[in-house]
């Protein structure tokens, strides 16, 4: 009995090795170019990572090939799950490097992006950050680019909004302990808000926390008019729920992570005010939207990954644009070699669904607008509120 | 009292004075006093559950006695008086006797370091180790080394000395043939013998044996008796033992203490004990119960 099990285990290991070797040996008539997808497909940022990946998948579905200098290449997306965790990011990044990715897209969540960055840097692979908004992602990294706005910008935008539109004097900021995205954005928000003369109270909750009622009650007792909670969706849902049932009655303000149908789902039919800043407002490009909705509805797995409906998240749009930016870079480089693409990257420009994309000297996208949306809890959609700039 | 002791003809290795051990409301050892003179074999006997092993545990530091004093080589080694909750619950005598002097409560290893080694009623050998290692570990306490010199082998001489001494000890005990066997794979009699060898490896002045003949047949018991006498001569030991085998006790003991229900009921040379009516009653009484 024991021997049989041991044998079975050994066999399985052998099979696994075969499968590993096999993935390298595959060959096609049409040449293939691989685009690595460095996303959290599980863990705290799993939902966001999946939605971002959906945009790329849809783009790949629409445009599965790319013509470079007269040669048509098949584009293959190679995903690697970084499990929303820094310590898994290195090997996940390495699988992409070893898998021969020419360019990498990702990651949702700035801290994994930073953690994986060095591996790509060593291999000389260009990476296009899709929605990682922390400035440290691109800073000092010649191979890291990004197509979204940055936290200092987003923080300022949100502070302005809280000040101008919500007329807040005191803001309660709630972020996850140890999460760079939350803490970074709160920090920039705080700087801007204090500049505008608002009072800012900060609080942190630990990982895997499920009980936000005491935080929300704190916000109320401290006399805040707005709660700013730029955390990941997993916690965001709970905050929305508990804010509604506790009858807190303060508007919730958040960054791009909250722009998700999961939040709408949690808020549906409840008395909560939710405002988010985001990269894209629905209705910006009807053709694209109808196309992706059709695709989502025909592909059940994609629909599940999107949270079970065909609402389009901003991160999906950004993923879509990132894919085309990568193709554009290849065309510009006239090659699928990672070094050539890297060299061509700084000059790439592309006008996508979310607006025009061009990189500055650090590698960040030049963007000066963010969209503010409000959750419509009765119709279960996001209502466009304003385009907000820094000034 | 100490003047008396100095005047007595043989020096006492161990002096136990008014030791009481109370667990909750149960008095396991009650006001026990005894003296163990040098180079003698002294036995502590009594029916099952009389508190013999508890007495041993009080002497070797496993338990802190509730009250009483133990002196080793003329110096106080363990001293205690009732404290805390025990102040009220205490049922024994002489509660106030040791209050002024403070508590001395060394851990067992410190007591072993002073020179008292013991064996256990239910053999406690290190089961994953070989016979050789079992004895070698007991040498650890007296080795001149620290963790760095030991790890980086700065003490090769010391290590060799330990090994040589262990080897010669095993040879003496006739355990050298099985030295690489697992300790627990030995037959019962040899395990007992190994435990004694291990205790001897700590260079004791006083050896406490807790039922060394338990589970042995008459032949083995007789051998054990000879063996105990032998090591006493060889290592200039004093031996204090608990035993149920009366013929063993009668054969080798110089002096016997008898306890029942924690209290002493008799003391004397073997002949006196054999004829003591209270002792006979205590033993027969137990026999009736069983």
């Amino acid at each position: 009995m024991k021997k049989a099990i041991a044998l079975a285990l050994a066999l399985m290991m052998l099979l696994a090795l075969c499968a590993c070797g096999d993935s390298d040996a595959k060959q096609d008539e049409t040449p293939t170019v691989k685009i690595g997808v460095f996303e959290p497909l599980s863990g705290a940022n799993g939902p966001g990572g999946k939605q971002e990946y959906l945009g790329m998948q849809y783009a790949n579905y629409v445009t599965p090939t790319v013509e470079i200098n007269g040669t048509v290449y098949n584009v293959e997306l190679v995903p690697a799950d970084n499990e929303s965790s820094d310590d898994k990011a290195v090997t996940a990044a390495t699988t992409l490097v070893s898998g021969g990715a020419s360019v990498v897209l990702g990651s949702y969540g700035s801290s994994v992006a930073i953690a994986g960055s060095a591996t790509f840097g060593e291999a000389g692979i260009p990476v296009i950050g899709v929605t990682c908004t922390n400035p440290q992602v691109t800073e000092g990294n010649d191979h890291y680019f990004r197509i979204c706005f940055l936290d200092p910008f987003q923080g300022t935008v949100l502070a302005n909004f809280a000040h101008d539109e919500l007329k807040a004097e005191t803001v309660y900021c709630l972020g996850q302990l140890g999460n760079d995205y939350d803490q970074g954005l709160i920090n920039y928000f705080k700087q801007a808000a204090e500049g505008l003369g608002m009072k800012v109270i900060t609080a942190e909750f630990p990982e895997n926390n499920a009980d936000f009622t005491s935080y929300l009650n704190n916000a109320k007792t401290e006399g805040a008019q707005v709660i700013f909670a730029p955390c990941s969706i997993q916690y965001a849902q709970l905050i929305v729920e508990q804010s509604a049932t506790q009858g807190i009655g303060l508007p919730l303000l958040a960054g791009d992570t909250w722009d998700s149908n999961k939040i709408l789902g949690a808020a549906q039919g409840k008395e909560v005010d939710i405002y988010v800043s985001t990269f894209y407002a629905e209705g910006g490009d009807p053709d694209f939207e109808s196309g992706i909705k059709e695709w989502l509805n025909s592909n059940s797995e994609a629909k599940t990954n999107n949270g079970g409906d065909d609402m389009i998240a901003a991160v999906t749009v950004m993923g879509y644009d990132a894919y085309y930016t990568a193709l554009e870079a290849m065309k510009k480089a006239g090659s699928v070699d990672k070094a050539d693409i890297l060299a061509a990257m700084p000059d790439v420009t592309y006008t996508g669904v979310s607006g025009s994309i061009a990189f500055n000297e650090v590698g960040d996208a030049v963007r000066d607008t963010a969209y503010i949306k409000q959750a419509n809890t009765s119709d279960n959609v996001w209502d466009f509120v304003a385009v907000q700039g820094v000034n | 009292m100490s003047e008396n002791k100095a005047a007595s003809e043989v020096k006492n290795v161990l002096h136990v004075e008014n030791v009481t051990m109370q667990f909750g409301g149960v008095v396991a050892v009650n006001n026990l006093s005894l003296d163990i003179p040098q180079n003698r074999i002294i036995a502590l006997i009594g029916p099952n559950g009389a508190g013999k092993t508890t007495a041993f545990n009080c002497i070797t530091g496993v338990y802190q006695p509730t009250n009483g004093l133990v002196e080793f080589m003329g110096k106080p080694m363990v001293r205690s008086h009732p404290t805390g909750k025990m102040k009220k619950q205490y049922k024994g005598e002489n509660a106030e006797m040791y209050v002024g002097n403070g508590i001395i409560n060394p851990t067992p290893d410190k007591i072993t370091r002073l020179g008292i080694a013991r064996t256990f009623q239910n053999i406690r050998l290190w089961k994953s180790m070989t016979v050789f290692d079992n004895v070698l570990v007991a040498k650890h306490m007296r080795a001149k080394q620290n963790v760095f010199s030991a790890t980086f082998r700065g003490n090769a001489k010391e290590e060799r000395r330990m090994r040589d001494e262990t080897m010669s000890l095993l040879e003496e005990q006739g355990l050298d043939k099985v030295k690489d066997d697992l300790a627990t794979s030995l037959p019962y009699g040899l395990q007992r013998r190994l435990e004694i060898a291990r205790a001897l490896a700590t260079d004791p002045k006083l050896l406490l044996l807790d039922e060394p003949a338990a589970g042995m047949n008459p032949q083995e018991t007789q051998e054990l008796a000879e063996f105990i006498k032998e090591i006493r001569e060889k290592y200039k030991l004093t031996v204090f033992l608990i035993e149920h085998h009366m013929d063993l006790v009668m054969r080798i003991s110089d002096y016997i203490y008898v306890i029942d229900f924690g209290s002493e009921i008799a003391r004397g040379v073997p002949m006196e004990i054999q004829n003591n009516q209270r002792v006979i009653d205590a033993y027969l009484g137990v026999a009736e119960d069983e």
Partner: protein, 402 residues
């Protein structure tokens, strides 16, 4: 020991030394000569991480396997080591960017740079990081000593829970914003000296030591641990594990020896943490959870509690399986075919089932409490071939009978 046995063990030692030398030559070639094919690219991080986890497993084994102290505090001490290492090797010029929310932090000092002013930048990085690693171990050891004083009085399960709780407390303290000037609060530490900085310029040629470096440190540490285990103190540890009461009665001070084992184990956990920081290139306190400790514990169990070589083998196997060989289970394809249930997370399900099987059916692990020895392998091969021959003969006889 008889003469033949001595000869045999000498032969074994020689073979072992040759194998280790060959391994290092290979690692050196991987670092400097071999082209970076996709296989090598994937192999190197797995090797590095495997080596680091070997050390972590062995240090945990010293405590759990050899001393019988069931401690679940490994991740906490790794965290202390990793942070100590990172804080003292971030280049001064990068402080402003790393400690961006804390005005550049309080510590304006970097060991590699200090050493670098004498030995040049590459030498500074190389030797400076070694010093920082040792410092990391020492800080972890000091913390261990402080925590050990109260905690080591507890027995088995209670010790496990107390150390588990300690990990959570340490994690919260390191994320505390008031200590942010040192720990950077809940934010990542980065830009410190990593494995890729391990280079030495000798005679004009720059040699890379990215892969060989962790192996060197880990091997040194494991050798020290093995020496300790086979010393008089190691035997005392085992005595405590087998029977505390008997050990104490034989003059072994429980507190002193448990403390020693705890502090030494934590020293190496700290070193392992520092190496892990080098491997990851960024660290933050959040990722040092008790799940990390469980993972190491599982490796120790798979390898065999009380076997150093088992721990090493298990660490490499575990890392290779979870991060490399089983990744295809997540890909949705198998040998070119698409398999619908091979989707994200399937790898982990399979992996945990395998772990359960090992725990249930092979509870003694790969090695039990034995050690891998080269003469042992030779003996094993001989035995196996002998058995095969015997079978051959038997089969022949069978056919002959027919």
């Amino acid at each position: 020991m008889t003469k033949i046995e001595q000869k045999k063990s000498k032969k074994g030692t020689w073979i072992a030394l040759c194998c280790i030398a060959a391994l290092y030559v290979l690692l050196f070639l991987i670092d400097n000569v071999f082209p970076s094919t996709s296989f090598i690219v994937m192999l190197t991080p797995v090797l590095k991480k495997g080596a680091i986890y070997s050390l972590l497993c062995v240090s945990m084994n010293l405590l759990n396997g050899f001393t019988g102290l069931f401690s679940l505090g490994q991740a906490g001490f790794m965290l202390i080591g990793a942070y100590t290492y990172a804080i003292f090797t971030i280049p001064v010029a990068e402080h402003m960017s790393v400690y961006q929310y804390f005005d550049g932090g309080a510590i304006q000092f970097s060991i590699p740079e200090a050493i670098g002013s004498i030995l040049g930048p590459t030498g500074g990085a190389f030797f400076g990081s070694i010093i920082a690693i040792i410092l990391a171990g020492c800080v972890a050891a000091v913390f261990a000593a402080l925590i050990g004083i109260p905690v080591l009085r507890l027995k088995s399960d209670y010790l496990a829970i107390a150390t588990l709780g300690f990990v959570e407390i340490i994690r919260a303290v390191f994320q505390w914003n008031s200590l942010g000037v040192i720990t950077n609060g809940s934010n990542q530490l980065r830009k410190y000296t990593a494995f890729s900085d391990m280079k030495l310029t000798i005679g004009g040629a720059t040699l890379k030591f990215g892969t060989i470096f962790p192996f060197l440190i880990v091997m040194l540490c494991i050798i020290v641990i093995v020496l300790l285990i086979n010393s008089s103190y190691g035997r005392a540890f085992k005595a405590i594990r087998d029977d505390e009461v008997a050990a104490e009665a034989m003059g072994i001070s429980l507190f002193k020896h448990k403390m020693l084992s705890f502090v030494i184990s934590c020293f190496f956990a700290g070193v392992g943490g520092a190496l892990l920081a080098m491997f990851q290139t960024t660290i933050k306190a959040q990722s040092f959870t008790s799940a990390m400790t469980y993972e190491i514990l599982l490796m120790v169990v798979i390898g065999g509690i009380g076997s150093v070589s088992g721990s090493c083998i298990a660490a490499f196997l575990y890392i290779a399986c979870s991060e490399w060989w089983l990744r295809f289970l997540d890909s949705g394809k198998f040998l070119g075919l698409s398999v619908p249930f091979f989707r994200d997370g399937f790898r982990k399900v399979v992996f945990s089932v395998v772990i359960m099987i090992i725990v249930l059916f092979f509870s003694r692990g790969i090695m039990g409490d034995r050690e891998l020895s080269f003469s042992g392998i030779a003996g094993g091969v001989k035995k196996l071939s002998g058995r095969l021959k015997k079978k051959d003969i038997e089969e022949k006889e069978d056919t002959g009978n027919e």
